[in-house]
């Protein structure tokens, strides 16, 4: 009797083992699988040249390094003669800018004017007029909702933006942020909402705006002048 019981127990164990192996085999059949992906869209702001520079009213001088649309902005201009030998009303350089973003943007500018002169009659930052022109949001993929805020007074050569100082006789750009003296440190020139809709980067459209620089030829102290302007766009 004990031997029969032992045999039965062994058979039971074997059967259970078989069933467990079968169960494990069935559970091992994989019928589902997952692919988990993560990604990021970072804030993107971009400034490029909007195209060729337009230089007018110059006497001598010329565009040394022109702007190329959709290329980094690295323009170099010789404004030529700015003394009374230049009889034009203004020497004006119009520099097209192109901005793109997937977030609200702020375009700021900082400028320096260095001059070899030593007197008060030398060309200074206040003698270089500046302003941003009409902002254009057009083309496929460009967001046309929302308004851009131009912190400048626009074209500095407009009559409303400058006049001869009745006391000193010196021409002055008087509009709000209408000359480079207002940009001795980084200062906002333009701001606005998202520029681009969800389109590929290869879409060449964007927000375009002309940056005007103007100098009124005057009896400045003779010498050489270097005007350096840096634009920076950020996504606050």
């Amino acid at each position: 009797m004990p031997r029969q019981t032992s045999s039965l127990t062994k058979k039971s164990i074997l059967l259970l083992t078989f069933l467990m192996i079968s169960a494990v085999t069935c559970l091992g059949q994989s019928t589902t699988g997952t692919v988990n992906m993560s990604a990021t869209v970072s804030k993107f702001v971009e400034i490029n040249s909007g195209g060729a520079v337009t230089l007018t009213g110059n006497s001598g001088g010329g565009v040394t390094t022109d702007g190329v649309a959709n290329s980094p902005l690295a323009v170099s201009i010789n404004l030529g003669e700015l003394g009374p030998g230049n009889t034009n009303n203004f020497v004006t350089a119009q520099v097209p800018l192109k901005l793109r973003s997937n977030a609200p943007y702020v375009l700021s500018m900082t400028a320096t004017v260095t001059n070899s002169g030593t007197t008060a009659s030398r060309i200074g930052a206040a003698d270089v007029g500046f302003g941003l022109g009409t902002v254009s949001r057009s083309g496929i993929g460009v967001n046309t909702t929302g308004a851009d805020t131009n912190a400048t007074s626009g074209d500095p050569t407009l009559a409303a933006n400058g006049s001869v100082n009745a006391t000193t006789g010196r021409f002055e750009f008087t509009g709000v942020r209408s000359n480079l003296n207002a940009f001795s440190s980084a200062t906002t020139a333009l701001s606005g909402p998202i520029i681009m809709n969800a389109v590929p980067r290869s879409n060449a459209n964007g927000l375009t705006v002309p940056a005007f620089f103007a100098v009124k030829p005057q009896f400045f102290e003779n010498g050489t002048t270097t005007i350096s302007v840096t634009f920076t766009v950020t996504a606050p």
């Binding site: 589902t32 990604a39 869209v41 993107f44 993929g141 809709n197 969800a198 389109v199 590929p200």
Partner: protein
């Protein structure tokens, strides 16, 4: 007389016993064993091996696929905004299928954390497709039906708004917000051992065109495959 009778009875009894023994010996010369068994429907999905991530900027494969192991891939696609200048961020995930019956491979997917404006990444911005090849000779004969247009980076164009559109039907995760068939076909394996390495391998391709999407720091895209027996 009594002794004679007893001897006869004894002889008869011994004879009868011998006859019975002989009869019993003849009855044990045959036997039978009856067995029952079952072949159940078998369908299986596992990883077909390492994934391939291209066109990424800052992304990486976090959990790679391992051939013949359960599919549980985790990938960081990296930057998919305009600062990524590549044409596509593309992920190719090898799948491995086996079955002893006709099968259907389904997929369901989701996109989360991308934002909710018109310019946020949508499931329709995530291209998807399978590119199965003809079955090799070591598999059961038959043709697999691909419900997707194939590699999503082939074709496609911008729409009237300038947004990228993947070509064809079922070419994005937008088609799989609810579970839907992506591939189906007749039995895959011939009658081979369970440990046979023969299988139907094919890549599942996911692709995103970097665009001026709304900024989003943590987008999660999930695709779950399920294979069922038809």
């Amino acid at each position: 007389m009594f002794k004679l009778t007893k001897g006869i009875v004894t002889t008869l009894a011994v004879s009868a016993l011998l006859l019975m023994s002989a009869a019993a010996t003849f009855a044990q010369t045959t036997g039978s064993v009856t067995m029952t068994a079952t072949v159940s429907n078998f369908v299986e999905l596992t990883s077909g091996g390492a994934v391939t991530l291209t066109g990424n900027s800052g992304g990486s494969v976090i959990t790679d696929g391992t051939a013949n192991s359960p599919l549980a891939v985790v990938v960081n696609l990296g930057e998919i905004g305009p600062s990524n200048t590549n044409s596509f961020v593309k992920l190719s995930v090898p799948l491995r299928l086996r079955s002893n019956v006709a099968y259907q491979l389904n997929m369901v997917s989701s996109v989360a954390g991308a934002g909710a404006t018109a310019f946020s990444l949508k499931d329709t911005d995530v291209g998807f497709g399978l590119t199965p090849a003809a079955r090799p000779a070591n598999l059961a004969a038959g043709v697999d039906t691909n419900a997707t247009p194939g590699d999503p980076t082939v074709g496609g164009s911008t729409d009237a708004n300038g947004r990228w559109v993947f070509a064809g039907a079922n070419s994005t995760l937008g088609a799989y917000a609810v579970s839907g068939a992506v591939l189906s076909g007749p039995r895959i394996n011939q009658a081979v051992a369970a440990n046979s390495a023969t299988n139907l391998s094919l890549p599942a391709i996911f692709a995103i065109k970097p665009q001026f999407f709304d900024p989003a720091p943590a987008i999660t895209i999930t695709a779950q495959f399920t294979v069922v027996a038809l």
